[in-house]
């Protein structure tokens, strides 16, 4: 396993952001799903070695990030896109990625510039590489964030809400890039968009109030909702959630009444059910 977290707990003042969390992630894309404030960002910051847990153990790429030497070795093989990735807005795209490459200890100018050009091409930024970052759209800036994370071909890629704020077309392009990045390496990403998780992730962990409520594959999560989604001409009082769909009928999620017209569940239905049942915790090996 590239990422192994055991009983990680982290508090900020009186707020417990993470409460005894376990997580394993290996090759492929692992998704952290949950509402805002569920603890996803805190866990990703711990995996990115930016934060240390108050309690519990973390092993990344076979090393212990609490030891200074190990932490440096981990960071040499790590790419990180924070949720609110900031930029030196006066820098051009090339200059900014070059600056991060220096922080990643690529000090020889020519190989470093070659690497900067590689990630710029990979993320489709070649046409704007000479533009100042302040002149770029939000979607383009997000690509710059991904480009800097891909510098040095990291073995572990940590992406916090990589698709937030993107329009549908940009999100599709981003999914393509993340899917490509996940081949042959470990990607841990967070999202509160179930579509992103369904499209990209081989494993998911669902977070709620600092705890992991589910771990397993997207299909296993979807299976949790089998027999608990039904169509009706009206909103059912028994439903945890209900909404009108395109054909005018209501999609109800919860405990169906006798004789209800059951329909195949989606990942979003299972996620809603999980969020609506506060004591349920499910772990698949």
């Amino acid at each position: 396993m590239t990422v192994r977290v055991r009983s990680a707990t982290k508090s900020f003042g009186r707020t417990t952001a993470l409460d005894s969390v376990d997580l394993d992630a290996g090759h492929g894309v692992t998704g952290l799903l949950g509402p805002n404030g569920a603890g996803k960002t805190t866990l990703l910051r711990i995996i990115a070695t930016v934060l240390a847990p108050d309690r519990g153990t973390v092993t990344l790429l076979g090393r212990d990030p609490s030891r200074p030497d190990d932490r440096t070795r981990i960071r040499e093989r790590l790419g990180y896109l924070p949720q609110d990735a900031g930029f030196h807005r006066g820098f051009t795209v090339f200059e900014f990625i070059d600056y991060v490459a220096i922080l990643k200890q690529m000090t020889d100018r020519r190989p470093r510039h070659d690497e900067v050009r590689r990630v710029i091409d990979l993320t489709g930024l070649a046409s704007v590489s000479a533009k100042r970052i302040r002149a770029l759209s939000g979607g383009m800036r997000r690509r710059v964030g991904l480009a800097q994370a891909l510098l040095g071909n990291p073995d572990l890629l940590v992406l916090d809400e990589p698709t937030v704020g993107l329009d549908p077309e940009q999100r599709l392009r981003f999914r393509e890039m993340i899917s490509h990045a996940g081949e042959g390496r470990t990607v841990v990403m967070s999202s509160h968009q179930t579509e992103d998780i369904t499209a990209l992730c081989t494993r998911i962990a669902v977070f709620h109030r600092g705890r992991v409520r589910f771990t397993g594959t997207p299909n296993e999560l979807t299976a949790q909702a089998a027999g608990r989604v039904w169509a009706d001409s009206q909103r059912s009082a028994a439903a945890l959630a209900a909404w009108r769909i395109g054909d005018g009928t209501f999609r109800n999620v919860g405990d169906p009444p006798a004789g209800a017209e059951l329909v195949p569940p989606t990942l979003e239905d299972a996620y809603l059910l999980l969020m609506g049942e506060p004591d349920l915790e499910v772990t698949h090996s």
Partner: protein, 273 residues
């Protein structure tokens, strides 16, 4: 029309980069027009050397021109990677430097009106560069702080680069303000060693706390100790010869401690692991 060709020896020397300048220039002009000689030279060319030259040409043409602060630093002998790190130091932005200069200009004007304000200016002078060091690492002002924290670059090295950059810019501003003060110019320069000592003390504390907190601790201690003595008119206690020797010792001691512990102590650039 070309009726002559390069002799085999000239071709060999040109291809190996061993031709004297006049032969190289003549051969180059001829090769532009003569396909026969271009064919002849192809087998003598070291493709690895040509590729290396081509990559260098592409890099020079394609990479953006460094900003003017980076170009100045390069002329001073600073490496281009270090120059880029300096250019990204938040405190070196125009508004911050203008703010320092503005506050100092007002202080100098006030010090000329009232002698007590002159003493307070001496107390406050080291705080400008110290604040610059703190701001260079403040989360709100360094937009790439989170990315930097997850990067393997040495925290101590980044700390020293940014501190040197901040001191290199702010000390001349404060010194210029000092020269505009009434009275002895020696007194106007008396804050320099305390600034060096306080900065080294703050840097040494970064093994235990973030730079912002370390600067806060050192600055608070400085103000609490020096304000009462300065207001009472006892400037010697904080700025006299004995005090200057003390601050020199603090600066040297802090610098030595950083040098000795550079491989064993983790610098806390932020609220990090």
């Amino acid at each position: 029309m070309t009726v002559w060709h390069l002799d085999p020896e000239a071709i060999r020397r040109y291809a190996q980069g061993a031709a004297p300048p006049e032969l190289a220039a003549s051969a180059e002009a001829h090769l532009m027009r003569c396909a026969t000689c271009r064919d002849a030279i192809a087998s003598h060319v070291d493709t690895r050397r040509v590729e290396a030259i081509w990559r260098e040409v592409v890099d020079r043409a394609d990479a953006p021109r460094p900003s003017w602060p980076e170009r100045i630093l390069a002329r001073l002998g600073v490496g281009e990677a270090t120059a880029r790190l300096v250019a990204a130091t938040p405190t070196l932005r125009g508004p911050w430097l203008l703010g320092i200069a503005g506050v100092l200009a007002l202080s100098v004007w006030a010090a000329q009106v009232d002698e007590r304000l002159l003493r307070m200016l001496l107390v406050a002078a080291p705080l400008g560069p110290l604040a610059g060091v703190a701001v260079a690492f403040a989360g709100g002002l360094d937009p790439t702080r989170e990315i930097g924290l997850a990067a393997p670059y040495s925290g101590l090295r980044l700390l020293l680069i940014r501190t040197a950059a901040v001191l290199g810019v702010t000390v001349p501003i404060v010194a210029a303000a000092g020269l505009a003060l009434p009275g002895s110019h020696w007194l106007a320069a008396a804050w320099l060693l305390p600034t060096a000592g306080l900065t080294c003390a703050a840097l040494a504390l970064t093994a235990r706390m973030t730079p912002v907190v370390a600067v806060g601790v050192v600055a608070t201690a400085w103000v609490l100790v020096t304000t009462p003595t300065a207001m009472a008119g006892h400037l010697d206690l904080a700025f006299g010869v004995g005090a200057q020797i003390f601050w020199l010792a603090v600066a040297v001691g802090g610098g030595l401690w950083l040098a000795v512990t550079r491989n064993t102590v983790t610098i806390k650039l932020g609220r990090s692991a």
